[in-house]
Structures are given as C-alpha cells and as structure tokens.
Symmetry: D2
C-alpha cells in the first residue's frame, strides 16, 4: 500500500524530526512512502523509511533525477514541474501532510477533492483534514480506516 | 490575455451573479476567460462573458465535451479528471477565485505555488490571496498589476 | 468542433502551403483548429485559419506564451514540454497529420491508441492512418465521417 | 537506474518469453523496470524481474491498483488513461520496446522526440530505433551507452 507524505521542501527541524519518525513507522508497517522526492519533509520521511528498510518513491518535478534527495529509492522524473503534485496524490490510498507551504496545500486540497482522507500534523488548518498530534497517531488512524 | 476564473461547480445564487458580472467585465476588457468548463461559477462566468461577446475556454475533466456548460466556446476535453485543475491555472496570467470548494482551493494553492497572483471574491481565506469585494475591483487590480 | 492539426515545427515550403490551405478550409467549415501552437505546420494552419476568420488554439509546451506563433488566437501554456502532445490529441474529435517528425508520430500513435481517426497528408506511413492527397480530401473525409 | 520497458498489453507467447527474459537480465544488472503495469509484455518483464529479485514499477492508467499485473511491486495509479505513456517514458534513462501496438508506438516516438535512445526487439520499424535481436543485446547496448 502506498502512503503519500506531503510537506514543504523547506521545513523546521521539528517538522524534519516528525517526518523522519513517520518514515520509520511507515516502513515498519510495510507501506511504501510516495512523495515529491525533494528536500525538507520529503527528505526526512524518505530517510526514516530507508533506515528501517522501507520502500521510498519520489515523483520528481524535473526531467532528471539530479534534484532527488539521497533517500529516494525509486526516482521518477516527470518534467512537469509542480504539476506533479497531482500524481503524488493520485498514487496513494492515504495522504499525510506535515507542515508545508502552498505546494502542500494544493496537494491537501486536491486529495480532498478526490475524496481521499488527509491526515495532518502541524499543517494547514483546512476543514476536512484530520489533524493528529503525532506520527504514531497517523499510523493508528490509517490502520483503523483500512480495517473498515 | 487569459484570466482563469475558478470556483465551484455548485454555488449560491449570489456567487453565480458575481461570476456572471465578472464574465461581462472580462469580456469588455477583451480578456479570454479560461475555466474548468463545468457548471456553477464556471457556467456563470462563461455566460457573462459570452453575453458581451467575449471568448470563453473550458478545460474539461472528461474525454468528451458532453459535460461542458452551454456558454463555453472553446471546449477542450482532457480525460484526466480534476488533475486538469493544474492546466486551468497554468494557462492564465491571472487567477480570480469566487466561492468554491476543495477543487478551487487546490487551484488557488497551485497558482500561489507557481508564483501567480490570485484575486479572491468570497472565497477561501488563504494567506496570499488578494481579497477584493467586487468583480470591478478584481478587474481594476489586474489592470494595475499589468501596468507595472 | 475541434480538429487537431499536427505536424513538425520545421517543415518544407510545400508542407507549409498545404497546412495553410487546410487552415483556410477548416475555418470555412466553422471548425476550431487545435494545435501545438509553434512554428512550421502549426504556424501555417493557424495562419490559414485566421485569414478566413477561423478560431485557432495553441496548446503550448512552455509555461508562457512567448513561443507561440503569431496566428494562435487562444494560447494555452502548459509547462509540461512535449508531454502536451497528448492534450492536443485529447482535445479534438478528428486529427489531421501533415509531414512531421517524432513528435507528430507520437501524436498519430496516441490518437490511434485512443480510437480516433487520423487523416494524413504526406506524413508517417503508419497502418491505420487514412492517407489523403489534399486538404480538400481531408475535409471531405471528416464531413463524411461526421455524418455517420 | 530506471529502464522503461514498453510493449502491448496483448502479445504473442514469443514476445512474452522475450520480455520475461529481459526482466531477468534487468534485475541482474540492478536496474529498475518501469512499465505501464498492465498485462502482456508489461506483465512478462515484471515477472522476469521479480523472479530475480529486481524492482518493478507500474505507472497505471487507472485511478486505482486493481488493474495492475501480479508482478508490479510499486503500483502508481494516475487516473489519466493512456496519457500515462508519456510518464513511463519520462521516468527512465533508457527505453526498450518489445512488440507492441499503437500505445507502444506512441511511447517509442515520444521517447525519440525527447532525445532518448530506444532499443527495439521485434517492434515497430521506425527510423531511430536501434533494433537488437535479443534481450542480452539490449542489455549490452545499454551498458555500452552508459559507459560513454
């Protein structure tokens, strides 16, 4: 199962730690991390996942892989810039947002418009986002949702 | 010059009237209305523009034109669903949002992430959106921006 | 009705003349020309159409309109490079290919894979393309097809 | 490194065997197979790769994973139909075509228009495609190209 993790390419140290921890947990569940493949939150979640042997996918805005963070295992260049955001969302059953700027907001909104559940940790306060305090809570919420 | 007008496929009568008035004004400026081609705000802005002889373009989610509103002159099917939102935004120099739900929010955020100015009338209260009270104010703001 | 006209951005004088004549005829039918908005065949068909008061749409590879030919009325930047080829094809009920290189071939093949009829004038000799000698024949063939 | 393997969703037993063997070889090189994720050649190359412990990615036309073949490890739904072909090509440094119909031809042509080398085994006879008789030759050609 794919889980999209979205968040800004620039982030606070706190958000980085949260994302890294989330990556570890996703890997332990055996879930694949799909993200935009860049720095910040995307790097952190890939780093955490890779440390636990998890699978990481980066859907890149550029035409080549040179801008990918060091922890993306499967690098997918698209050459369509930030329009690739819609494909990050489309690729996953569940979406978790951490922190983030306008790009993240576009992904949150697109996910909600497609009827996907979005879990948020310290991110945009948009109606419809299920805010959770920790990565552990996000995992628990997805587990509960997957059972129904 | 293209102006993207974004807003929900379902809207209040008030939003419909505002969008229709905006369409009239855009047509009078000689600007092309680009939208998602569906009902609600999209229909209203096309209706207003067409009544004043303006040009209207609808970038459609479906593979055919059957779902376009009656006032779209240039119908462009895409077959990519709501992912077409990114192309509505990409096609225009300026973006005006009226009312709207998640789809509109995704377009607002995507436009801001691409560095485009977004004018908003009774829409999502997102930092970065320049809120204007009336269609006339939106036109004036774009005119002022285009001069700089 | 939209007719996509596809062909290379560099073309012979003969292909240019054919495309220009095709543009005139499409305009006289009241059909909208959709193309990639660039030079060569795309420029010629827009030129012909515009001279007869027809409507021309250019789906551009770039993020802005600066690379459009002078005869595109509705300019739609996409920022996705040649991946925009699929949207040129998706936007039209009928496809006419003139001359062309690999980009044109990709559009021919994509159109055929989507079940669309492709008429060809001095273009790639691919099984499934209906080759016609002149623009007049292409128009006649589309008229015949539209009646069925 | 990603290698895109393209070919029809329906194929002969011979093409299936060739694709399966190619998958084995790609896996042994440590290269990731990217494909359209469906049946026929796509299934065969994933099967071969997975049997040798290789990584397989399927960029799917649908919005969900239900249509993926059984040997795709990383399933990426797109919801854009065959327009996903351009992303299969964009994602890879090298492209190998086996057999195939119009979809495959669109990918071959798109790859060539993007300046990518296409190796072909019993596929469309298009100028620019480097035809090789066996999967082993395709691997050798990519190795030679990667060294330059």
């Amino acid at each position: 199962m794919n889980v999209a993790v979205i968040g800004g390419s620039q982030c606070s140290q706190k958000a980085y730690s949260v994302a890294e921890r989330l990556g570890e947990l996703l890997a332990q569940e055996g879930w694949t991390v799909v993200c935009g493949g860049k720095s910040g939150v995307m790097e952190a979640v890939c780093k955490g996942a890779q440390e636990k042997g998890g699978r990481t996918v980066g859907i890149l805005p550029e035409k080549d892989c040179s801008g990918a963070n060091a922890f993306v295992e499967v690098k997918l260049p698209t050459g369509i810039g930030y329009a690739r955001n819609v494909f990050v969302v489309r690729s996953a059953e569940h979406v978790i947002a951490i922190d983030g700027e306008y790009g993240t907001l576009s992904e949150i909104a697109f996910a909600l418009s497609e009827g996907k559940t979005v879990y948020g940790i310290d991110t945009w306060d948009i109606e419809g986002v299920i805010h959770v305090p920790t990565p552990e809570d996000a995992i628990a919420a997805i587990q509960a949702q997957s059972k129904t």
